[in-house]
Symmetry: C2
Subunit: 148 residues, 2 copies
Amino acid sequence: MNTERPADALIDLAQEFRDALRQSVYVLRRLDAHAELSSAQLGVLKMALDGGARVGEIARDLGVKVPSATEQIIRLERAGLLRREADPDDSRAVRVLATAEGRAAIELADRRRNERIAAILATLGRDERDAISAALPVFHKINRSITP
Amino acid sequence: MNTERPADALIDLAQEFRDALRQSVYVLRRLDAHAELSSAQLGVLKMALDGGARVGEIARDLGVKVPSATEQIIRLERAGLLRREADPDDSRAVRVLATAEGRAAIELADRRRNERIAAILATLGRDERDAISAALPVFHKINRSITP
DNA sequence: GTTCATACTTAGGAAGCCTAATAGTTAGGA
DNA sequence: TCCTAACTATTAGGCTTCCTAAGTATGAAC
């Protein structure tokens, strides 16, 4: 006998999903712990590659307000990882560009983190990796649905 | 021709996984945004149900250091959502217990968040929900592998 | 050429987390 | 017994990241 209405099953899945979200925060903290670049900084810096980006674009992409992005940008600029310059098309705007050091820092930080995760993924069974692989796009889709 | 060695495929999956982690942080921020209780507080408060928990247990379970747990506990105590009392078995320890208001707050906060997620899950196809469902345990397993 | 909108910065503040130092309690060995 | 080492929690101080509100400068539109 089915005592569970469909709605309840959805709520249960939602609860599990939320638990996974919460865990993700802890995992990301661990991953950031002894790193030279935090995930937040890495996110900003990556936007500054390939022709750079405007401050507002960076903020939008990272899901934060403009002042928060400015703060990170200033910090990274002081560290010599990116530079700011006036946007030639719009003097109100500021273009943010990664320096050579910035690019090197991204490369290093990304590689270290990816290798650490990859080592864990390597211990999984093929079916487990497939499960992750199949879920990531859906995960992405769900996350996009949650707007401010 | 297969130009991709297995190791590269793992690194790629690791990168995608990391992107998902990063997004999770943003999602959780959105979810917390106008909530009466933050996710961090909700986590602490949930540990204080069913006979309560010691400060150290709470910290361990939530993946933070003891002083961080203490801080949350004090905040929640001031809000009247939990109370602290001496552990009868060990006078060094402190037992943390949710009050009736605390239990009500958990119930409300959980319900609101779960309903919001469930509404999004409801828009997915069955195969997409299945993908999420299958991946969550693996996700959990990976997260447990990443230790400080 | 005002006026309104846009882009960013500055200022101030809150939430969370951390380490180091402290106080009190327990437990174990001389 | 008593002394020391280990453990539990709190306090103090500091960092990061985020936010809102207010200010400056530029662009666009009438």
